[in-house]
Amino acid sequence: MRTEKLDTIAIEMRNVHKAFGERKILKGMNIKVKKGETMVIVGPSGTGKSVSLKHLTGLLDPDEGECFIFDESISFCDEKKKKKLRSKLGVLFQSGALINWLTVYENVALPLREHKIADGEELDQIVMEKLKWLDLVPAKDTLPGNISGGMKKRVGLARALTSRPEIVMYDEPTSGLDPVMSNVINDLVIRMQKELGLTSIVVTHDMSSAYRIADRISFLYEGQVLFCGTSDDLQKSADPVIQQFIHGRTEGPMILDHSELKVSKSR
């Protein structure tokens, strides 16, 4: 059963290239995430992690290559097909991306209301279930402007889960959070994989989170996947760029944020 589950590829990026003007962000990005797996994408700022997520959600189309959700291409397709594929996705944005004039409850209910999936008692039941699951019931009538960053992320997660997705994508889920709240979010990611069997793709800079939640880690550098493997393999990697990044050293071969600055040992 587990073998069959893991054999299915839920998410795939195949030789994806993307440039904004003169600046090339992705230079042949390849990634495969199996069903039920948690894949964490790490890498320095500006190497295309968030851009990769935008390709996988169909918000951007690649200049070359294609992205697949359960073997169906989400690149260059019409709105109808995108809508169908997006119904399998839930996305937690870095800031939560909550609608500011709607309360926590209304934000979570938004996809159900807009798609007329549920109404009245049924809608209330689904929304309250998600709010309870994420411990948000006391804040249900609060506006997003009056809640903490950690709570915003949990509301974003509750909203992402209301449409019962098969895949959840997280963009920097722990950025800007204290260590305790970061672990609350990490535990939620693990819980969702275990209890709901969700496939997850997590973009982060936070190595301790990555080690905690990842089944596999992809290290993205200069628009390409430099490494893909388990947390242990990543830590044992002999690649100097990887070693510099995971240990947070300022000196090494890594090119910082696409700037002209090259921090090298010789300096």
């Binding site: 959600t57 995108k82 809508k83 991306a97 609608i99």
Partner: protein
């Protein structure tokens, strides 16, 4: 030349195309009006009740200023009693739609562009798209519909207050009989040319409402670059709305009064 085209002409053409398509897309979503009634009423409240105080003050004083100036000018010919007629024509046909639209573009239109621009840079628009919620249906259509209904109503309200302002000045400063002033006003409004002035003004209000809402939403949806981008968006939304209102104001007058 190539650089000039790439940096100036091409983005301007893109902006025009984007805005026109956005307007058509908003029209194509009007079958959701009943479903979006709450949002539409909210937008009507923001445009109408939210700017009622400013519109009231500006309208009364415009009527007073126009009444005084034309009254003093006409007094030389002993025709100051005609200001009721003149104010009714000018306000209903031209000034009220123009004033109301400029006030709304500067106050509500700028806020609309900033709000949608902030949503764009904080990934809220992306979030809507990922949830397969069409931002045009969710954000643009209620604003465009709400504005296109509310601006004509505000135009009528503004005309009425302007005429009242003219009456106050006419009576207290120019010594015109209030009864004869309002008789002139009602005579003009109930005549065929007066009705034409009225529906031209209402039509202008409708078009200006569409322009302000569509331009503001279009600018907001094209925002890039964080807080600076939102600032630029707001400024451009107001400037573009002003220019479009003036341009289409002339075009509509030219069409209706050939």
């Amino acid at each position: 030349m190539k650089t000039f085209y790439r940096e100036n002409i091409s983005p301007a053409l893109y902006a025009v195309g984007f805005t026109v398509i956005l307007l058509f897309r908003a029209f194509s979503q009007t079958h959701h009006v009943f479903f979006k009634r709450r949002e539409i009423l909210e937008q009507m409240f923001i445009a109408g009740i939210g700017s009622l105080f400013v519109v009231s003050i500006v309208s009364i004083f415009t009527g007073m200023i126009m009444g005084l100036n034309t009254g003093l000018g006409l007094r030389d010919f002993g025709a100051e009693g005609q200001i009721g007629l003149l104010l009714t024509i000018t306000l209903t046909r031209e000034m009220s739609p123009f004033m109301t639209s400029l006030i709304l573009a500067a106050s509500v239109g700028s806020a609309m562009a900033a709000e949608i621009g902030t949503m764009k840079v904080s990934e809220e628009i992306d979030a809507l798209e990922v949830m397969s919620i069409d931002p045009v249906r969710y954000l643009v259509m209620p604003r465009v519909f709400g504005f296109s209904v509310m601006v004509p109503i505000l135009c009528i309200y503004s005309s009425a207050l302007g005429i009242l302002g003219g009456a106050i000045v006419g009576h207290f400063q120019l010594g015109i009989d209030m009864m004869s002033y309002f008789q002139d006003v009602f005579y003009r409004i109930s005549s065929i040319p007066g009705l034409k002035d009225l529906y031209t003004g209402i039509f202008k209000g409708y078009v200006f409402g569409l322009i302000i809402a569509t331009v503001s939403c279009s600018q907001g949806l094209r925002t890039t670059g964080g807080a600076i981008g939102v600032g630029q968006t707001t400024r451009q939304a107001v400037v573009t709305s002003f220019l479009m209102v003036i341009f289409f104001g002339y075009v509509i007058t030219a069409i209706f009064y050939k």
